[in-house]
């Protein structure tokens, strides 16, 4: 009896030992030379694996940089200037020109309570599917469709539903990966500088009279903002006011004077008016 137990213990332990040693030897012989900088770069990158750089994840971007396949070190938008500086340092090159930090915002607030609807949609809960039907269920074909395709692609949950069935981006959370812009069929998601104070929350290039009829918070292109804040960078084109953020002037009086109140602060949360 005892002999059997001992022989079983010895043979299994021997098998384990053999395999352990075999693996140890194999790992020496089969070791693959890896660039040490890859690991260092990976630590510096944010690790969000959002794909904004065009690579599958932070690890593959790090690999591409270290292998000199990718020469552009500024592709990581979530990391911003800090990361660009650090990875340039690791690679021993001078830091490239750093782009200003940007965010994305929805340029539309015409939800259930504000906009006119053309038909009732009860199909697949996906903006692109809805857009395929006459450009959406709202009479305005430029605005947010509110089915939240952007919410589903956002890697950091920066986009949330608002009370009136649209979406809003929390700019503190936004990492500017641009995925929502890619998925949005109406182009209502647009870039803004991070420190932008106001935005014209409308995307409609319809004529003023049309906009007034179908949406309570649309930009009619009345040019009042241009007149009230001449230095604010407001520029009306195609019945839609856009802000040139290079202009440093005040924009508040233009926003206050806006008759449809579609010029609003780029707050982290949308407030009810």
């Amino acid at each position: 009896m005892l002999v059997q137990v001992i022989s079983a213990v010895i043979s299994v332990a021997g098998l384990g030992l053999l395999m352990g040693v075999g693996l140890a030897v194999a790992s020496k012989f089969l070791a693959v030379q890896k660039d040490e900088r890859i690991a260092v770069l990976e630590v510096e990158l944010p690790g969000l694996n959002c794909g904004a750089c065009g690579y599958a994840g932070c690890a593959s971007y790090a690999e591409a940089i270290a292998g000199k396949e990718e020469e552009n070190l500024t592709l990581c938008t979530p990391g911003g200037p800090d990361v660009v500086l650090k990875i340039s340092e690791i690679m021993g090159v001078e830091a490239a020109a750093i782009a200003e930090k940007r965010v994305i915002q929805v340029h539309c607030t015409g939800g259930r309570d504000k906009a006119e609807y053309e038909f009732t949609y009860s199909g697949i809960r996906d903006c692109n599917a809805l857009y395929a039907l006459y450009g959406g269920d709202k009479k305005c074909k430029h605005g947010c469709l509110g089915l939240g395709s952007c919410i589903r692609v956002c890697p950091v949950n920066a986009i949330s539903c608002t009370e009136n069935g649209l979406v809003w981006v929390n700019k503190e959370l936004c990492i500017a990966c641009g995925k929502c812009i890619e998925v949005c069929p109406t182009g209502v998601m647009r870039w803004l500088p991070f420190n932008s104070d106001y935005l014209v929350a409308c995307n409609s290039t319809d004529k003023g009279g049309v906009v007034r009829r179908i949406c309570k918070v649309g930009c009619t292109g009345c040019k009042i903002c241009e007149k009230k804040s001449p230095d604010g960078g407001y520029k009306v084109e195609n019945f839609l006011s856009r802000i040139d953020y290079q202009a440093e002037g005040e924009r508040e009086s233009g926003a206050v004077a806006c008759p449809t109140k579609c010029i609003r602060r780029n707050d982290t949360e949308i407030k009810k008016r």
């Binding site: 299994v12 384990g16 075999g22 194999a26």
Partner: protein, 196 residues
Amino acid sequence: MTYIAIIITFVLIENFILTQFLGLCPFIGVSRNIDSAVGMGFAVIFVMSMASLTTWAVYNLILLPLGIAYLQTITFILVIATLVQFVEMIIQKTSPPLYKALGIYLPLITTNCAVMGIALIAVRKEFNAFESFVAGFAAGVGFLLAILVMASLREKLDSEWVPKPFKGIPIAFVTAGLMALAFMAFDKALLKNLIG
């Protein structure tokens, strides 16, 4: 059993996932899109074929002569884990593209119960070396088949309206259950009709 009978048995009649309910973890976890499902499927085919062959060798050349066949479970775990590690190293050294394709999935199946299952079943059915290998390969193909069908269904489900409590994993399990029900159509009578 002829080789054709073994293949039909393990791919359809005793499909590891849909009939024996082994290896459900990667089946649910990696079936979210078709690309990774295919990667996982091929990794499983590879590991299962290798594992059933080596465990046959260990069982018949070491465990039986020493009279410690009752220790098969623990030794199989040891052997399979070592084998996968070793194979991973070899692939990484010799073929980086293959390593990139299989790399993330190989460690996932080191201790998978489907791999363990094929080793134990092959022993219980007293297969010879080549039969074990074929059984392992066929079981892997069965896994690939199931996970591929599942991944295509789940990709479709993503754009479909699903009640909130069922979103994600729950609806995947319901789908898997229905698929298992469909696989009940393949039973031993099929084998008799096909081969005689």
